[in-house]
């Protein structure tokens, strides 16, 4: 029995098919698992293990290497505030402290209503609009306590749901095109073209 919903399972199988080796689909599959459950449940990890031909120890071990994967439940909105050098110089630590009191949760914790999880992040690559804040990995560009509070208010009242979907960064990433020829065939084509070119070049030289 699949733990993934039918649609997620189908996307998962498509992802696996994109790679020459199943295990390569590990990270995208874990993103999908979080899209469904919000965090990585044991059941989802077991399914990812099955899809990637690995053990659950390897799935968990791999997932735990990456900051975006959560092995425990998190809030609907994961709020990340950067305090790395550029943001630090722009008041990132102060904004983080403010976020903690506004959201009502400690850094690394989840608010009592289960709505927010607050994280101190490393550089998010948006340093010209510092301090940088992301919600569910969407840049929200709220750099002051006031704009942050307004954002939180919007989120609490469900006003930004379109813009900031819950969990999962691949939620709107859909592949529509694709080359459906076996890789081996592609490699053969390349080799043939190469030989043809070399032969032509040799003729030209003569």
């Amino acid at each position: 029995m699949s733990h993934f919903r039918t649609e997620i399972r189908q996307r998962a199988e498509e992802l696996v098919s994109l790679y020459p080796r199943k295990r390569s689909a590990m990270l995208p599959l874990l993103h999908l698992a979080q899209e469904q459950d919000g965090y990585l449940t044991d059941e989802a990890m077991a399914e990812v293990a099955e899809l990637t031909g690995t053990t659950t120890a390897e799935v968990r071990g791999t997932a735990s290497f990456y900051d975006m994967f959560h092995l425990e439940p998190v809030g609907k909105y994961v709020v990340g505030v950067c305090t790395n050098i550029a943001c630090l110089l722009a008041g990132g630590e102060e904004l983080l402290a403010h976020a903690s009191s506004t959201l009502g949760c400690p850094v690394g914790g989840t608010s009592a209503d289960g709505l927010f999880t607050l994280e101190e992040t490393e550089c998010l690559a948006d340093c010209n609009i510092a301090p940088c804040v992301q919600v569910n990995h969407r840049f929200v560009r709220t750099t002051t306590p006031e704009t942050l509070d307004a954002l939180v208010d919007d989120l609490r009242n469900g006003r930004r749901e379109d813009e900031i979907p819950p969990h999962g960064t691949l939620i709107r990433v859909r592949r529509s095109g694709g080359l459906r020829v076996p890789r081996a065939q592609l490699a053969d084509e390349r080799a043939a073209a190469q030989t043809a070119r070399e032969e032509r070049a040799a003729k030209v030289e003569k």
């Binding site: 053990t55 120890a57 071990g61 791999t62 735990s64």
Partner: protein
């Protein structure tokens, strides 16, 4: 390069100003070590791929940009390389790494299991500055957590060398542990859903260079400095791994793997490693009928009760039984068992049974093996030959479950890509995913499949008669033929009984077909019981004679007609019920646990007078009339012959409890009471007799320094053994203490065996039972496959509580195809009905099970403790067992 130019196999490098020869492809760390320069290390282990992560082995290597610090464990030598291991820069780098390692390491050495034998501690004492500059709070984790039934993990002590995780994935292929987290918070972690119950889990404990992984059974049982140690051979299965056996205050405390190059590479399976409890039986009941309890005093049955008695009384009772039974004919007595004996004891009992009593009713197997003559006649492969074969064909039970170290050795070469695996798949197997070709082989088909491989296309039509059709494609068959080549050169067939519910003659016919068709191929028969090969070599099978000889071979050489063969185990049991035999000598005792047809075994034991020669109790002893207690493994001296025919020594570490004797002594004394003298007053007498009369290595192995042993019939090449690396084998006491001193850096001299003094069995001496006709499979039925597991209901596991906890409850497994066909689902309780019985059991889907079959495990229990498999097996059964599976 011209074709004839010799490829260089060595290069010269300079280490600290000294020029040394190194092998091409060798790592700096290994080359330096051979030449006497020891470079400190933690993550490097000579039996695993280097990863270069701990950075302890940094040395300076000259390069285009001057001398730079490089990991000696990762860089291979190249000609003219200049290596410096002693400069200030090297010392500072190494000291720096050590200081970093200690920064977060707890200071709990006094209470740590590893204290006193810890590489980190040793390094610190040798190089550490003594005072710490780390004043911060150390990293904290919850104290030891069990990560499996046998292993505990203390993450605070871990130095992230990744030896355990690499062992699990790279060597064992069971990645049930992996690193979790990143950076400073990196930790070894088990799977969220599966405990770390790999059958090789104990190896991770052995190679952990700190006290992070500890074995539950060993924890706190001893302090390293109290330990005494001998080097010996594991007798748990027929691989015969070299082990260091350690004791403290007269009790066994621990078994560690010794790195024997031709055998186990330092690895052990958990059964061999943790079986200690079963030896001393300390935690077990005094009830002689309990599996694993120890027998310490002779016993006789008086008024229906087994009572303790003196040796003289017990021996005369035994002598009485024997003389009573042999009044009419010597064949009124027979012996069953013998794989638990040393070669010397087997030799002594053979003398007693054939020489003194005059019976050929002797069988060390229990009807679940293969024809002993065939085993002796096959050109035997060594484990090294298995590991270097270009193709290995497996027609056997799951090697991981039956012969774990053979599995590791074979897996290594398959993963490396140097060996192709062909599986004739009767049952699910741990090597399946690595196989190049899998030919599904249902019960009753092996001989046809063998013929088909041997290029007889007609055999294919026999396979097609199955209602589910031929299980493989002609193109797969063609690939197998290609891999085997014309003569089978470089091919090893690993052959045994993959299915206890199938007539042995089917497999034997297949083996014979291979042997005839591929004259250059070698064979590794997979009899797994302890010293079974020693027992057969000493003649403990009907028709065999000591020295791998047989009546037929002797007759062939001397031109006389061969006498009739004695009875096999099953034949003896049948003969007892027919009134043709009245007494049984049980060498090792556990008939009930080993004979498939339980009702036959019980009835025969009941009818016969039974003399049990054993160190362990068990249900079979309920039928014993006399019990003669013996010393068991780790209590006795002797030699052991492993699966490849390698004879190695067994060393006693502790004394046998109570009044137990060695088997040699018991045989000698019993002969005396029967009025004859064997002339084998000690184990050493027996060893000398074996060597002088048979030319079979025994005394020379017992006294020799060839710790790796000697392969029967082969001239052992000089083997270069490396020095004992304390970092690779933490816990092994020291080179001298384990008797490794002699081989540290030295050469074991070639031992050529004395010319064989007795004619050896050849194919001409083998007469196989005819292959039975196989009934047509029923389209609605399934053929029964009965396999074995490492953790079973045998004495070793049952006598070791830690292992007994790992025995799985029996389920029936079938292929998803059959699930659909029969309309059952995983978890359903179904009714299995054969001609003999019907029983209810849970089914589980398993795509490794061959279509059209149902797989059950021999001897494992149901929830209620019953053993359902035996209900369906009988000695008079058809060649295969067909069952119907119905939902209830």
């Amino acid at each position: 390069m011209s074709e004839n130019a010799p490829t260089r196999t060595t290069v010269s490098i300079t280490v600290d100003g000294r020029t040394i020869e190194a092998n091409v492809g060798e790592l700096i760390i290994a080359a330096a070590e051979r030449s006497g320069t020891y470079i400190p290390r933690f993550c490097y282990h000579p039996r695993m791929e280097p990863v270069g992560v701990c950075r302890m082995c940094l040395v300076e290597v000259d390069g285009p940009r001057g001398a730079t610090l490089q990991p000696a464990c990762y860089l291979t030598v190249s000609d003219g390389m200049v290596v410096t291991t002693t400069s200030e820069k090297v010392k500072k780098a190494q000291d720096g790494v050590l200081e970093f390692l200690l920064a977060n390491h707890p200071l709990d050495c006094p209470v740590c299991d590893k204290g006193g034998e810890c590489p980190l501690q040793d390094q610190t004492l040798a190089h550490g500055s003594g005072e710490t500059r780390f004043i911060e709070e150390k990293r904290h984790f919850a104290k030891p957590i069990p990560i499996g039934e046998l292993v505990l993990l203390d993450r605070e002590r871990c130095i992230q060398c990744s030896r355990c995780t690499r062992f699990a994935s790279e060597v064992a292929g069971d990645a049930q542990i992996d690193f979790a987290g990143r950076g400073e918070s990196i930790e070894v972690a088990p799977s969220p859903t599966q405990p770390f119950d790999s059958i090789f889990s104990g190896n991770t404990v052995q190679i952990c260079p700190v006290g992070a992984l500890t074995a539950k059974p060993y924890r706190f049982t001893a302090r390293p400095w109290d330990l005494e140690q001998v080097e010996s051979t594991c007798t748990t299965c027929s691989v015969g791994c070299r082990v260091a056996v350690q004791s403290s205050q007269g009790r066994l405390t621990r078994i560690l793997g010794v790195d024997s190059d031709p055998v186990n590479h330092g690895w052990l399976c958990d059964k061999g490693r943790f079986v200690i409890d079963a030896v001393d039986g300390e935690n077990l009941s005094n009830d002689v009928l309990a599996a694993g309890s120890r027998i310490t005093e002779p016993m006789v049955r008086r008024n229906g009760q087994l009572v303790t008695t003196s040796w003289s009384e017990a021996l005369s009772a035994a002598a009485h039984i024997i003389s009573d039974a042999t009044k009419l004919t010597p064949t009124g007595v027979g012996a069953i068992g013998g794989a638990a004996l040393t070669n010397e004891a087997a030799f002594a009992w053979e003398r007693l049974l054939r020489g003194v009593i005059g019976t050929d009713n002797i069988d060390a197997q229990y009807g679940d093996g293969i024809d002993a003559h065939l085993v002796q006649a096959l050109p035997r492969a060594t484990l090294d030959e298995v590991a270097t074969a270009c193709t290995v064909v497996v027609l056997s039970g799951d090697l991981r479950e039956e012969l774990p170290i053979v599995y590791l050795r074979l897996r290594e070469s398959i993963v490396k890509g140097t060996t192709n695996l062909v599986e004739l798949a009767t049952a699910s197997s741990s090597l399946r995913s690595l196989a190049r070709v899998v030919l599904p082989t249902r019960p009753g088909e092996a001989h046809h499949v063998a013929l088909a491989i041997a290029s007889d296309d007609a055999a294919l039509s026999n396979l097609a008669t199955h209602p589910q059709g031929t299980a493989f494609q002609p193109k797969e068959l063609a690939e197998v033929r290609r891999l085997l080549g014309e003569t089978g050169e470089g091919v090893v067939f690993i052959v045994g009984r993959p299915n206890a519910a199938e007539d042995a003659a089917i497999i034997e016919a297949a083996i014979a077909t291979f042997a005839r068709r591929f004259p250059e191929a070698k064979f590794l028969p997979t009899l797994r019981r302890s010293n079974i090969y020693g027992a057969l070599d000493m003649g403990l099978a009907p028709g065999l004679r000591p020295g791998r000889s047989s009546v037929a071979a002797i007759a062939r050489v001397s031109g006389v007609t061969a006498e009739e063969r004695g009875r096999s185990t099953v034949e003896q049991l049948v003969a007892i019920l027919a009134g043709e035999q009245s007494a049984l000598v049980l060498l090792g005792g556990c008939v009930l646990g080993n004979v498939a047809d339980q009702s036959l075994a019980k009835a025969a034991l009941d009818a016969a007078k039974v003399i049990a020669v054993t160190g362990h109790g068990g249900a079979t002893l309920a039928y014993a009339d006399v019990i003669l207690p013996t010393a068991v493994s780790h209590e006795r001296t002797g030699t052991f012959t492993n699966i490849e025919g390698r004879v190695s020594s067994l060393a006693p570490k502790i004394t046998a409890p109570g009044s137990a004797w060695s088997d040699v002594a018991i045989a000698s004394e019993l002969a005396e009471v029967l009025g004859q003298t064997l002339g084998l007053d000690s184990i050493f007498d027996a060893a000398s007799a074996i060597e002088s009369t048979l030319g079979y290595p025994s005394a020379s192995v017992l006294s020799g320094s060839a710790t790796d042993g000697v392969v029967v019939g082969a001239v052992t090449a000089p083997s270069l053994a490396g020095p004992l690396d304390p970092m690779a084998n933490p816990g092994l006491r020291s080179a001298d203490a384990v008797g490794l001193g002699a081989r540290a850096g030295s050469v074991t001299h070639a031992t050529s065996l004395p010319t064989t003094l007795v004619p050896m069995v050849t194919f001409n001496d083998v007469s196989l039972a005819p292959t039975p006709s196989i009934p047509l499979a029923d389209a609605y039925g399934l053929r029964m496959v009965v396999t074995r597991r490492l953790y079973d209901n045998g004495m070793a596991v049952q006598g070791t509580p830690a292992l007994a906890a790992l025995v799985q409850t029996t389920v029936a497994m079938a292929n998803p195809y059959d699930f659909d066909r029969l309309g059952v689902a995983t978890g359903d309780v179904v009714r299995l009905s054969s001609a003999l019985a019907s029983s209810d059991i849970t089914v589980v889907v398993n795509s490794g099970v061959t279509r059209g079959t149902v797989e059950l495990v021999l001897g494992s229990r149901m929830h209620d403790g019953s053993n359902i498999v035996s209900q369906h097996l009988s000695s008079t059964q058809p060649a295969v067992v067909d069952v119907r599976m119905e939902s209830r």
